[in-house]
Amino acid sequence: MLKNMTDTIRGMLRELTGRDDFSGGAFNVRANGESSGRLSTDGIRIEPKPDGSGLDIHIAPGVKRDKVHIPVVITKSGIRETVYNDFHIGEGADVEIVAGCGIHNHGPQDSEHDGVHRFWLARGARVRYVEKHFGSGDGSGRRILNPGTEVYMDEGSVMEMEMVQIRGVDDTERTTTAELAANARLVVRERLMTHGRQRAISYYVVKMNGAGASADVVSRGVARDDSYQKFDAKLVGNAPCTGHTECDSIIMDNGKILAVPGLEANNVDAALVHEAAIGKIAGDQLVKLMTLGLTEQEAEEQIINGFLN
């Protein structure tokens, strides 16, 4: 049973994770600055850090297809917190980690959650990491999220990260760094929509230090109204490796997007590619959907939903 639940919190948990009951698996639910409930399992041990700054999450070697939920919800105006969660993923473990943060701010003060997640993947470990961010509430206080993610990948480990921010977050600065040993593989899929006067900045630095390492970092963004996005991804090849980054964006209204490619090859066998495309919705896409009977606004919505799908 979760403590201090309200309908708003339950709704936000469902939006973040698709559920509001986590029994049956490992989880920690954090609401308004404190833990509402926590459960460890045989394979996944969740422990609060002694200084109260966050959690240590230990995933046992060899765990197969397990899942852990660690959603964060804020519904009080004026909360500002920084939380450190460290994930230790054992050799050969295979786990899905569902994180994410929702801020409902109906008051005048800013609410802010800065989550620092650090991952240590042992040899051959596989992680699928899913992180959703959104904001709601009609208060004048801003909803601010500044996630920091550090990933340390041992030989042959695989990390897939899916990061989504669709609406309601006024200001976000995301920093993701990764270091890859031999044959490690990192896949990042970021989807971002900003509107109003929102600002979203994403920095990546991915260092491929071992032979056969590979990274694929892809961001899809839509900037509407007066919003601003910056995608700054740097790949560093220090060994024979392959790296690809892509920023694919749609701008609307007075939206602004800055894509900063960064490739650094320090080894003759490092193959690095960067792609970026920014533009408005193609006119022929709108026209095609209109010939199916959609209005221009409906067509726009379908194209954007598909793009961010």
């Binding site: 026209v287 010939t291 199916l292 379908q302």
Partner: protein
């Protein structure tokens, strides 16, 4: 009453010399329940004519009537809802929109997966393999073209326009396509199909043939009157084409 009437329709675009007339004084009436093939040389104005009917381009002269109602000032959306379907010569790709999504938008309702599959099978695509694929750059030209045809088929409207449906489609599927057009005509009572094509075998199933040339209607009449004069002539395949050595020849 005609399904579609074009009265003195003209279309001019600005050019370096001032203006260029792409469609000139077109008068054309399409009757219910007919299959009409529009043919003619490349650049003759066939696609532009279709775009004018669909509302993608607006005539600079004349009127267009659908079921007797003037639609010249109506938008693409309004015309689509009034019963005009249009398969593009060059279909559009969408990142993230799946074939199933597109078919649902075309049908205008929550199409079941098995209904959607039927439309794909009708254009010769193994439905299971395609239904969840994105309509993006990963589809081949021929696959995309067939999906485009399936969306218009799924709309089931009274006036369906296909711009060169045979382009990029292999021979085996082509037989299928002919069967599909015949079937479509039978399925929608009073429905009219307009196919822009250079293919004699498509002209062969037509009730009427329209020949467009230099932006105007050159000839229009029953197939049996028009086709004999076209067969084997350069018009039937359109101007000239490349021979094996890459030289331009009449063919």
């Amino acid at each position: 009453m005609s399904i579609l009437e074009m009265e003195h329709v003209g279309f001019k675009v600005p050019s370096e010399q001032g203006e260029r007339e792409i469609i000139r004084d077109v008068n054309l009436a399409l009757e219910p329940g007919r299959l009409v093939v529009v043919t003619g040389p490349n650049g003759g104005g066939k696609s532009t004519l279709a775009r004018l009917i669909a509302g993608i381009a607006i005539p600079t002269a004349g009127r267009i009537l659908l079921d007797g109602e003037d639609i010249t000032g109506k938008s693409v959306t309004e015309r689509a809802r009034a019963g005009i379907g249009f398969a593009f010569q060059q279909p559009v790709r969408f990142k993230g929109i799946r074939v199933l999504d597109l078919l649902r938008l075309a049908a205008g309702k929550e199409l079941s997966v098995s209904d959607a599959c039927e439309y794909l099978s009708a254009v010769g695509l193994c439905a299971r393999d395609y239904i969840h694929r994105e309509v993006n750059a990963s589809l081949s030209g021929g696959e995309l073209k067939r999906i485009e045809i399936a969306t218009v088929f799924a709309r089931g409207v009274r006036l369906s326009i296909f711009d060169e449906p045979e382009a990029g489609i292999d021979l085996w599927s082509f037989q299928n396509l002919i069967r599909l057009f015949k079937e479509m005509r039978g399925n929608i009572p009073g429905g009219t199909i307009m196919i822009i094509s250079h293919q004699e075998r498509l002209m062969d199933i037509a009730d009427e043939i329209v020949v467009m040339k230099d932006g105007g209607v050159d000839r229009h009449g029953p197939k049996d009157d028009i086709l004999p004069g076209l067969a084997g002539s350069p018009l039937a395949i359109g101007g000239c084409c490349k021979n094996g050595q890459g030289r331009l020849t009449k063919c």
